[in-house]
Symmetry: C2
Subunit: 363 residues, 2 copies
């Protein structure tokens, strides 16, 4: 598989939904496979909150988060398709984000970075595609925050792709998830080592707030049932049951997972991405969800997971119901995967929908 | 209604499950109504995590957390019953806890306080009842952590009451809730103002960690659906949608609720009570849950709520199933309240089970 990792630099202003401007800005992206002569075999993959452009392969020893789905002879077959995945603006893997330098100064944006929205993210991706002379995509696909981008593409740029495939997402973030995002943000901000966003970017201090934020997020990544099967009430062998800081195995795992995350993710970026998710509402600027969906021109495929405790299956069914209500049944397929895994199903239970996905692309 | 608030001081050692000893110790308790001549009309009410002995009335302007259930002509009728509610050891409302002084020194226990268990809590209550010459209770009742105490009473002191009534609880805390408790604890401990437990007890600093812990807890007190109905995606009028710290109404409420909680609850006590809940397992010391339940001699009533997202209804059904399996169906009634409210149902939807409860007590 032909893999490339690039960064494009744009000097024209990016006009954001807030009225603010990013100028100049970078977009980091990876590609897998080859663009055909007609330039019409491109699939855009949109990443989730903690994802990146490294959706497949193993460039620079970064392994792809969707390698089970994307690659030679996989559901998204890189022998056939040219896959492109960009790092969203606001995220820290090469695209312009709160930790980028403010041109031409030698200081970083930090909290002076503008709030970016899902619409802003896709606008930037559209500009990148234009710059690569890719006018027409074969498909756009993404899960979770990537699904939000996919849905927004289908409404705001309805002709840009032939197929839009959204997984494990919603049409508007629920107050329940806004509450989770709020608490995660509060944990980050309250950490004195975060220093109101002025922590050392090069030698990052230990950030307990970021660790706690990750732990809170983890509560949705697997379900109650999976936790029961995976950890049960097993206690760490070397810990005492009556020690206040003695731990169950699930607690040790949370420590491990949280600390690990701190080495990989930036807290300022997480704050901005959580904000983008919280304020996301597909019907924003329209009279209703139905009104927004009337813009859809090409086929939308929805893949939900029954065990998803972040973006519940019924939230995706609401999109299908609204599509039916406006007489667009033929433009929308809804597929519910039986799963007990939780929100991370779309990343870990790929077997359960790979065939369905492969058939969509072949159809 | 005759109301009294007292503290009993015990000079004999309290031997804890851990092998540690509390000596001396205090138990704070409230009583409502009057003990009859036979001393057999007493109902012991067990409080939940953030509850206290103030379960009814309005002594010292502290309003009872279960006033809808306990009082003259209420489901627990204080014209008929003598209600007693003790503050559990480890909690900060007058009973011995981590913030109590270590006799005879002038310093507080803080982290030198021993881990206490649900069994320890009920042992202390048993000693208090003995000291009041109450040998036989009419009933024991409690929800959530109070339900854990009730279940433990039914197994460890099976003859102490004629009826045991447990609401919104479980037979063993699930790893899912252990994870929540862990993250709440982590938030408290990570707060530099908490100062590793050495914060000023008299003039408490602002404790963001405690606020975050409360916010995390709140995620279970109401459901996703209730949040949707109560807050929706309403944005605070004076906040900007594109301000990073602009807030949805649910976020403002979390701030309010969290800050309010900090004025009412002690973080060290919360850590110890969360630990007691996490390590609670009714089958501890027995071969199985069934084995534990074989000790039950008097009738056990289980009241669960379909919307409870902390102690799921199926966890209480497991107790009923186990009772059936050991041939004790006649000793166990299971009642599931249809509710969409969440774990706090037993406190806020009293109408839905008051008649059932009243009939249990009259039967």
């Amino acid at each position: 598989m032909n893999e490339e990792s690039r960064i494009s630099h744009f000097t024209n202003p990016l006009y954001l939904q807030s009225g603010r401007i990013l100028e100049p800005y970078d977009i980091a992206y990876n590609t897998y496979g080859s663009l055909n002569e007609k330039r019409d075999n491109c699939i855009l993959v949109c990443h989730a909150l903690t994802g990146s452009q490294h959706c497949s392969g193993s460039l620079n020893e970064k392994y792809g988060w969707w390698s089970n789905i994307i690659g030679p002879n996989k559901a998204i077959d890189t022998n056939e398709y040219f896959v492109i995945c960009t790092n969203v603006i606001g995220s820290a893997f090469g695209s312009t984000s709160p930790i980028s330098k403010i041109y031409p100064k030698d200081i970083s944006y930090r909290f002076s970075f503008p709030v970016v929205t899902i619409s802003d993210m896709i606008k930037a991706q559209r500009i990148l595609l234009d710059s690569l002379d890719i006018k027409q995509l074969y498909a756009i696909i993404g899960g979770s925050m990537g699904g939000m981008q996919t849905l927004s593409f289908s409404i705001l740029y309805p002709n840009i792709a032939k197929k839009f495939i959204a997984l494990s997402t919603t049409h508007a973030t629920s107050p329940y998830i806004i509450a989770f995002n709020k608490i995660m943000s509060e944990a980050i901000i309250s950490d004195t080592n975060f220093d109101n966003g002025n922590y050392d970017l090069e030698y990052k201090p230990i950030l307990n707030g970021l660790k706690i934020a990750r732990m809170i997020g983890y509560l949705h990544y697997i379900t109650k049932e999976t936790m029961q099967n995976k950890f049960g009430r097993n206690y760490v062998n070397s810990d005492g049951l009556y020690e206040l800081f003695g731990r169950f195995e699930i607690e040790r795992y949370l420590d491990y997972n949280g600390e690990n995350f701190c080495n990989k993710f930036d807290p300022l970026c997480l704050l901005y991405l959580l904000k983008a998710i919280s304020i996301y509402d597909l019907s924003y600027g329209f009279n209703s969800l139905e009104d927004a969906l009337k813009n859809i021109k090409n086929k939308l495929y929805l893949i939900s997971f029954s065990g998803d405790s972040m973006f519940f299956a019924n939230e995706m069914r609401e999109i299908k119901t609204a599509m039916d209500a406006i007489g667009s049944s033929h433009l929308c397929d809804y597929y519910e995967v039986k799963s007990e895994y939780g929100h991370d199903s779309f990343l870990v239970e790929c077997d359960k929908y790979a065939d369905y996905l492969s058939n969509i692309l072949k159809s």
